[in-house]
Each structure stands twice: as C-alpha cells, then as structure tokens.
C-alpha cells in the first residue's frame, strides 16, 4: 500500500481526530508556534488584578511565561519573562507591585522598565577602561520580548502576531455580547485556585465545549433530585468555530425528569434532599434569567457565570500531558459582605472541588491515560451531526462546539499536522 495514500486517508477531521495530538511532543511544539504564538489573542488576566501603577502578575501564553504589568500611565504591558542577556527569569513572584516600575534580573542586574525596555546594564562601559560592552552596544536592541496587548471589558489579551486583526474582531460580535453581559459593571477579584491535570490542554478545551457530558458525568443535580436538562439552553459559535458560548436559563416551572432518567446508564434518581439549599440559591443580577454561561474563548480561556459564581479559567500548557487551569474568581466591586458570602457558598459548585464540575479534571486524565499508544486511532465526534453550526439548541444532545474547536484548530495547525503524519512509516 502506498504510504502517502494511507496517510491522506487518515487525516484528522473535526469529527475524527488522531489520538496522537494529545501525546506527540512535536505537535505540542508546533502548537506553541501556530496556536499560542500564532494568529490568536491569548488571555493574560484581568485588569482588576493589577489596578494600580506598578502592579504586575505573572501569566502564560501556552507554555511561555509572560508578565502582565500596569505602567505608570496606567497602560498595560506584557512581555516574556526572560532576560535578554542570559534568558533568566526576571520576575520571580506570582504577583506584586513594583513601585519604581523597574524589573531587575537578579543574575547580572539588567534592569527593564514596565514596558520591558532595557534601561540599565551594570558596567556597560567596564571599569577603568577594562571590559564592558563594545561602543556599538545598543540597549534598545536588547529589550524583553514584548507582546501586543489589548483589553476588552477588563479582560486582557496578548499576542505575538503582528498580522492578527484587533482583539474585538478576533472575538466577534456574539462573543463580545456575552463578555459584556458578565462585565456589565466593575468587578473585584475574590481569589485563585490552580488545578493541575496530567492531561493535554485540548482535552480540557473539548471538555468546556462539550455539552453532551454535562448531565451524564456531573451527577450532583440528579443525585439531589434536581433535574436541569429541560431548561432553555443554547450553544453559539463564531464562524471559524474557535469560540463557543453555552447559556442555560433559569427553569420557569416544574421540570420533567423521567425521560432523561430512562436514558442514563448510571443511577440518576436522587432520593436525597439537600440539607442546606443556600448552596444552590441563585440571585439573578444580570438583566436576564441566565443561570449558566460558559464561554470558551480560543485558545486559552473560559469565562463563566454559574449561578452567582463568576470566574475565568486560564489554560496553561506545561507539556503534552501537563495542563494547569488557573481559576480567577471574582464578584462585583459593589458587592456587600453578605453577597460575597453568598458567592463563596456558590463557589462550592465550581473549581477543583466543585460539586458540579470536579469530574472534568478526572475526565481529562482518563482520556489522556486511555489514549496512550493509540497513535493512528481516532476519536468519534458525531453526536448531533458532523457539521459545525453557529447555533445549536437546546444543548446537551450534540458535540457541535467540539467540532468547532477542531475546525479552528486544524486550520491553524494544518501544515504542522500534515508534516507530522507524513512521517508515519509504511
């Protein structure tokens, strides 16, 4: 059999992806350049995390460490956290305030301003005529690698691409509408959690776009006799498939649990009642009845409102099978103490200990473990069709947004993937 034909016949398509993509170090390396450093805007953090001049937080674009800084004129900058001299990590804290605005590498004390421009080199002229750099040495050529930075409604994104369209166009009107929804008034950060999964980042990206698993993997609601499947819900995608948003509206009356219970293969019907229903209490605070809003922005962030929890989940890709999810929880700046306590109670539902979500971490690891040695074998993503639609409702019975993710991903990765599949021996 001709190798080339066989390889061509087995190319990944949005409904069938070679399991190799979760394991191959070369594909992982290609993703760093094509996806994270390619024509995308990557989420870096929230403006509210760095409210004052000199405030900084460390972040990541894919695996690359970057630092997000608010400069003296309140403008926000981002640069790669790698000294232009020897490559040492410049900023060593998770967050803080650099009051004088200078970031000094500890190794040889090269100093950078908040924009990442080199402003000081010790012994640049040497000492007493000995040593130092050549007179042609120009600090301007030795600054930190700077990212283009743009914000939308307080979400800060950065890109390495000089060609990419402005952030607002990258997000598109549908995604912007939902970001507007969450950030309709000023926010305040409530804290962080970090969840480390021994799995590939794309397994998590699929998970946050997969509505089919929602009521099947996460059994908290049915265990307590609360059925949420028949509420008004929808999934909306951007044209390229990149981004997706799911919304579920608050139930408007009695809901029928029986038909779903008959379909499920795990014990679903709960006889147990919640002892403390405050856990699930929902106080609509946006001008609609939406109780769940999960928005996956390609390639590295999920924005959520679930009940009264608000959070971003930033995906950090540390290796083909190492992914960190950084949860940043927030509320609104005008929350009183009681409202904050209510949010903290609701936060039991989400995050690494989330009663309705902790299973996602396990699902990612199960898929990683299960696909070891499965190169050349393919997953099967045909629930609810084999196409990618911009609107799919209700949610729960399809994998439309997962196909959308792969459509966008394959476009960015096509060259790299065909190069790597062509190497498959006959």
């Amino acid at each position: 059999m001709n190798t080339q034909v066989r390889v061509e016949a087995q190319r990944s398509i949005p409904t069938a992806i070679d399991y190799k993509v979760y394991h191959d170090p070369e594909i992982f390396a290609a993703e760093q350049s094509n996806v994270f450093k390619g024509r995308t805007w990557c989420y870096l953090g929230l403006e509210a995390e760095i409210p004052n001049a000199g405030d900084f937080r460390t972040s990541h674009v894919g695996e690359t460490p970057v630092v997000l800084v608010r400069g003296q004129d309140s403008k926000i900058f981002a640069w790669v956290n790698r000294c232009a001299h020897k490559g040492a990590t410049v900023c060593r804290s998770l967050r803080g305030n650099q009051a004088d605005g200078a970031f000094v590498c500890v190794y040889h004390q090269w100093a950078y301003d908040s924009e990442g421009t080199l402003v000081g080199v010790p012994f640049r002229r040497g000492m007493k005529g000995v040593g130092g750099y050549d007179k042609d040495f120009d600090p301007a050529n030795h600054s930190l690698e700077k990212l283009r930075v743009e914000s939308y409604k307080g979400m800060v994104f950065g890109t390495f691409s000089s060609e990419i369209e402005p952030l607002e166009d990258f997000l598109g009107p549908v995604m912007r509408k939902y970001i507007d929804r969450v950030f309709h008034r000023p926010i305040k950060v409530l804290g962080y959690s970090r969840q480390y999964m021994a799995g590939n980042w794309k397994l998590y990206s699929e998970n946050s776009r997969d509505s089919y698993h929602g009521a099947l993997l996460h059994l908290f609601y049915p265990t307590f006799g609360i059925y949420r499947q028949s509420q008004d819900s929808a999934g909306e995608l951007t044209e390229q498939g990149f981004h997706n948003v799911f919304t579920v509206s608050k139930p408007k009356g009695d809901i029928d649990y029986t038909s779903f219970g008959d379909e499920a293969n795990r014990e679903m019907q709960g006889a147990t009642k919640l002892q403390d229903e405050r856990l699930l209490q929902f106080r609509p605070e946006i001008d609609d009845d939406v109780g769940l809003h999960i928005q996956s922005l390609f390639p590295n962030v999920v924005l959520q409102q679930i009940q009264n929890t608000l959070a971003t989940r930033q995906i950090v890709t540390l290796g083909p099978d190492k992914t960190e999810l950084v949860w940043t929880y927030f509320g609104y700046a005008d929350d009183d103490e009681e409202t904050t306590r209510h949010r903290l109670r609701n936060l039991n539902l989400v995050g690494p200990s989330g009663l309705i979500s902790m299973e996602d971490g396990e699902a990612v690891e199960l898929c990683q473990q299960g696909t070891i040695g499965a190169e050349g074998k393919f997953n099967f993503i045909e629930m609810g069709g084999d196409d990618v639609r911009e609107y799919y409702a209700p949610m729960g019975m399809d994998e439309n947004a997962v196909r959308g993710f792969w459509k966008g991903y394959l476009e960015l990765m096509s060259d790299a993937l065909s190069a790597s599949t062509a190497e498959v021996p006959a």
């Binding site: 998770l94 967050r95 950060v189 409530l190 804290g191 962080y192 959690s193 970090r194 969840q195 480390y196 999964m197 021994a198 993997l217 996460h218 059994l219 908290f220 049915p222 265990t223 307590f224 014990e267 709960g270 147990t272 919640l274 002892q275 403390d276 405050r278 856990l279 960190e324 929880y329 904050t340 306590r341 903290l344 109670r345 936060l347 039991n348 995050g351 690494p352 200990s353 009663l355 902790m358 299973e359 971490g361 396990e362 699902a363 690891e365």
Partner: protein, 159 residues
C-alpha cells in the same frame, strides 16, 4: 512561651488525631460530627489568605453543607480512587475565652492512587476555633490554609 493546660492540649490533639483517622479510614459520614451545628469549614489557598482574598475551594457554613458534601462524594462525584493519610502536628493553642479555644496545627495529607505511589497531596495548616464542653472539643470553625496551591487533578475528599 506559655504552656497550655495539658488537659486542654490533650483534648485538641485527640480531636485532630481522630479527625484525620476518620477521613483516612473513609468514614466520611462521621466527619461532620466533629463540628458543631452552626459551623464553618473552608479549604483555602495560602496565596489567597496572604493577599486578603476570600475565595475558598470548599466553603461550608453549616453542618448541613458538610453532610451534602459527603452525600455528593458518595453518590455523585467522580474522582480518582485514592487513600488519604493525614499527618497532623501537635496543636498550638493560640487563645481561649470561656468555652471557646483557638488553635493551629500543621498538616500534610498524603495521597495514594491506584498506581500505588504515595504523593504529598496537600500541605498546610488548620486554623481552628473550638468549643470545649463536657470533656470534649468540637470544631466551631476549621480553616484549612493550604500551601500546595497547585491541586493535583481535583480536591474531593475533605482535608
């Protein structure tokens, strides 16, 4: 430094030892009984505490919520099969007023999953408020402040 009343010290250390063993033995249904009815249990990252941020990964401000956690763990939640092992230091009593005592203790929770390897899963300290009555101590509040701010996979079993 002052030495705590040895009886009080014994009560608190006994509570902590029994608490750890209860969870490690998998007797989750007994775990809420270490708390009074109107209690607070939270598991929060040290990076949040140090920055004055309140978000916790578990925040239960009633005994009922602890019971709900246990029911969910037994019937709803999916997580890696594992054993836990609590190592808890002797408590330092930080204050007392009437029946109420405050104390702190360091802990390390080791976890062993199906691959058989034992890993340091979560290290931190308990900051406790206890009610000492009728020769026993019960928790009014327990705040688990964890140093291990990278949680491996997920955090299901209470700390």
């Amino acid at each position: 430094m002052t030495i705590a009343d040895p009886v009080l010290q014994g009560l608190i250390d006994s509570l902590n030892a029994a608490y750890g063993l209860c969870l490690d033995d998998g007797r989750l249904e007994d775990w809420p009984e270490f708390f009074v009815e109107d209690c607070l249990y939270q598991v929060i990252a040290r990076e949040n505490v140090d920055n004055g941020l309140p978000a916790a990964v578990m925040y239960c401000d009633s005994k009922g919520m602890l019971v709900d956690r246990v029911v969910a763990l037994r019937h709803a939640n999916v997580f890696p099969e594992h054993f836990s092992r609590h190592l808890i230091s002797r408590a330092v009593v930080t204050g007392s007023e009437g029946n109420t005592v405050t104390a702190e203790a360091s802990y390390a929770v080791l976890q062993t999953r199906n691959d058989g390897e034992t890993r340091i899963y979560n290290a931190g300290k308990y900051i406790d408020r206890l009610l000492v009555k009728d020769g026993a101590a019960r928790l009014v509040s327990r705040t688990c402040v964890y140093d291990t701010h990278r949680i491996a996979t997920l955090l299901a079993t209470p700390i």
